[in-house]
Symmetry: D2
Subunit: 348 residues, 4 copies
């Protein structure tokens, strides 16, 4: 295989983080997130969000983060509202339900949840024979690589505040979302509009780790107890603090995301120039072109990627760009696609 476009977590770790690990040497560090790296990283993140009172915690992965934040916010009979393609509903093996909570879904649009979706869930739930929706879960960027813009997020936020709903953002690809022209939101907007967000490290250069940022005071108490109980309070949390310190020093986090998005945009343009359509606009680091099945198959022998959907007799495939994807890999992909395209069209 020449190159894998399967996902943005194929490469282990960014060299600058590796340097930070090396520099840490064998200095003795406090355990369980009370060390100097976690403190420094938390400060940098709070500055970024302009949220000096936020609580920041570091957790090893996204599913663990989601189940932890959600289960810590809800009483047993309360539920989550999410779009049907939401990661928690599809790809976390029922992790939310395993903590006892139902996920109420709506179809949404472009992988996103509309205010009308949330409203329709509330309307449907009328009494104690049904769960009580209490938290709205959205992903930024979404599972399809699309983004909520400021108007959309503001509308959701206002609706949530008027209806006693928490608003929580899965930011596994938060960097990708905030570093695209498709999104007019800044970090500080989230501090103002949502109750909690997690800023993903795993998919943007870190070896592992996500940073949960809690803005709403109601969600802060005893969070470390809940982390420990779910197995999310690592003895060596410092290993995550150190990484997030590196990522939020000199804008590395944003730089890596922007670079991925730009490479994706370059790939999208090249594919379109060959005459192929995209299933939807490439807003972040996902490109989803619709290819004839035979071409998709032949490209699949050379490159790694997942099939996203059947589109009549064609197939939409998902190409994901990471911080480590070189322009040369994209060029090679485009050249191979061009070659196959020529042959195919020529053969007709």
């Amino acid at each position: 295989m020449k190159y894998s476009f399967r996902n943005d977590y194929s490469e282990l770790v960014h060299p600058l983080i590796l340097d930070a690990l090396k520099n840490a040497g064998t200095a003795q560090l406090d355990g369980y997130g009370l060390d100097v790296f976690c403190r420094d990283a938390a400060e940098l993140i709070k500055e970024k969000f302009k949220a000096p009172d936020a609580d920041v915690h570091f957790i090893s992965g996204g599913t663990l983060t989601n189940l932890l934040v959600i289960s810590s916010a809800l009483r047993p009979h309360e539920s989550v509202i999410a779009v049907q393609t939401g990661h928690i509903f599809v790809h976390e093996t029922g992790a939310i339900e395993a903590t006892g909570h139902k996920v109420c879904t709506r179809t949404g649009y472009d992988g996103k949840l509309a205010v009308s979706d949330i409203e329709s869930v509330l309307d449907e739930h009328e009494d104690e024979h049904m769960v009580k929706p209490r938290l709205v879960y959205i992903s930024q960027s979404t599972e399809g690589g699309t983004v909520y813009n400021k108007a959309e997020l503001t509308a959701i936020s206002e609706f949530c505040r008027s209806n006693e709903l928490y608003l929580y953002v899965d930011g596994a690809r938060f960097g990708a979302a905030l570093n695209t022209t498709a999104c007019d939101l800044e970090y500080a907007d989230f501090a103002r509009l949502v109750d909690a967000v997690f800023v993903g490290g795993t998919k943007n250069g870190a070896l592992f780790g996500e940073a949960v940022v809690i803005f709403n005071d109601a969600l802060k108490p005893d969070f470390r107890y809940l982390m420990k109980q779910r197995g999310a309070l690592l003895a060596k949390s410092s290993a995550m603090g150190l990484q997030f310190k590196a990522l939020f020093t000199d804008g590395l986090y944003d730089k890596l995301a922007r670079q991925s998005n730009e490479t994706a945009s370059y790939l999208a343009g090249g594919i379109q120039a060959l005459g192929y359509k995209l299933l939807f606009e490439a807003q972040t680091n996902f490109v989803v072109p619709v290819l004839p099945t035979d071409i998709s198959q032949k490209m699949g022998e050379l490159y790694g990627f997942y099939e996203w959907a059947k589109v009549e007799s064609d197939v939409a495939v998902r190409l994901v760009i990471s911080w480590a994807t070189e322009k040369s890999a994209v060029d090679e992909f485009l050249a191979d696609l061009k070659g196959l395209t020529a042959v195919t069209f020529g053969g007709k």
Copy 2:
């Protein structure tokens, strides 16, 4: 503070693991534990246990590992038997209960569970008004640094097999346990005697990560589903595979543990030579001397350590040695202790 003896996870990571990370570069790796490092590491671990049919999984921390293995093995009404000082009963914020299962405890001896303890729990549980004990949890080495020897483990194993009880070993400090003269057990004995064990990386040189080794076929099915559901299946599991590959290459894992134990033994000898008693024999990398309160206090101004117990008017303190503890740090500690001892004795 001159040096911290608080625990064995104060230093981030062993240099050889750091080298392995560096060597990995930006090679593209499969996600979720299906990569080449996880495969290689699993092979090395299975060889070590002489258990070619074992299943090996990598999980970020000990509490997550414990709650995962235990909850995956039990039906809702089944319970765990543990010694009262067991990590799952004391220091995991009710993680096992949070998965729905009761932990039935006995006092035990030297931090260990005896067959008679297990038997007494079974005798007490007679019908459907009580939980049904189904799994025995032991730690090797224990929370006090003591170890089960072959006779003890064999007796427990035989009792468990005669009574339909799974036997699971928390090996957060498995290396320390298997590399001391106090323990006549080898890796392969565990493959024969227990149903599952986790081999701890965090407390023996790794940046993070534990390796679960499942011997009993009944515990194998769908374990990856359960990992994912609990947030324990990291996208970059490769980061753990790589570390365990390094640890189980050229005997690094055992070497680091042996070295910790020897340094601890040296410290223990030095303390005893100054006329102090140990609360119990230092079998692994824990040394628990009984010191006069004023001396403990003064040493506490120079060194980091936890108080373990009051012993009449004295205090027992816990000194933990890690793979990174230099002999020079121990010598300095002993010198300072000697100084204080002289003054104190001289003053009488």
Copy 3:
């Protein structure tokens, strides 16, 4: 209000059951379902199903029964398949999710699940990032009063057995289902085709109580432990045994259900004779006519019933007949409806 057609559990208890309670006097009975009434009732029920090896347990209500059977059958990562209108998905306040399990739904048809629905859920769930469907939940009769016939149930049963899926039947209105011409299934067919069923008492004359009948040996072990743990093992289970003994003596259970169905059929005919349509055929004890909104409103001042759905500018209302509904109440309802109909039509 002249009469309530809101549900079939408005009247406390059938006189013959009251007599049985009276006859029991103050005889001393064993606790927790080990008494003579429970034994006798279980025998009668097993005879009825021609299933001498079945296990029978008595539980106070339907939601408790559903959550108990389902959670006892599944491992943590396994899920339930149900139709979107299924009681467990809509009206049990997330009881199944509260035990940790996701409910995967499909739209279905006439309130029923088709084999193709189940198949489509299986097709969608491909790996460990998703829950593993393991049990199919259907209601007989359904939440809309429709019934599965023998061909439908057989097809589902065969599909389940070929795909390692348990098949469980919510029989809150099992009597209504088995005593209508729309259903060609007999009790014994269920012993052959499904893994467990509960036979509802509450909605067919009992003061309270449902009888779970487990046919599949795999679901039998330790069920009493699970009952006790969920608070479903009543000290005075004898109170339920006694009632089910009365219900399954001299065919009372079937007689009451048949009578409800016949009264419903009479009501349906009368409504249709007045020129109104039913939203769907009245197969059991539910009649769902579509009425002009103003007529529905005026009838609602005289009689109790729930609105089922909007149908363009009209409204479909749900009329439920119980074992205690007298023909005279139905006649009065029809007369009042006729009166309003005449006025309305006359006024045009």
Copy 4:
């Protein structure tokens, strides 16, 4: 067997409750606890406690009540404090743990928890590596038939309020506790001193059902949601409302309990007059005499009772008196015991 002293729930239902059931006839009642009987019963109970603002709910059994109240009050990492003989810790098949919460126990005295016990649990739980105790569970009367008096309950209440601990009372035998001279507490004292209590019907004449009374506003919101989710909101809750209305009309509840206690006292006196000791004072409807093993065995052939404990070579047996136990049954028991006693002593 001449008579069973095994428990106080052997006889189905008190005749006055049966009459009430009969009088209810086939009147149509609202479902799910919204009927007139539940309303009337709640009013009577609130009057009894002089607590007009209390919330009252009816639940089918004690275990379900306990798990419901406790799980509704706690966040996931919070735990319960109980005496080691507490029903929730011993005889509810891990029902509390099954809702995710740990039960922290102390030995206590006479089946009761002392303030010092609670304090010692709090002292032990110091940080986020341990659960956070949040609710104290006591039984009144206790599992051994002893009672907390006003001084004891007041001390516990004050300690709880100073330490952010809820205080919840399992009153499965609340009537027995409040109708003995050993207890100087009145109903209204509980409204003042505790956060919630359940008043047991099953063990004092009801066919089934317990009444939860919630005094603390913090525990009231959405309780009906939680009931429904746990399967505790019966369609025919009216069946329990009706019974509690009967029990709290004309003091029936207290009368039945007082009568049981007096009969127990009579039995205790008779046994002592024969020269036998009681293991502990018979404060309510439990009598626990210490009998020679051979006499216990012979009496066991004539009467039903459970062995409570071995006392050297003798055995302590538990004799429970119910509202239905006739004085004649006690006299017969005493006569038989006297006969055996004479023979045994005579034979020496």
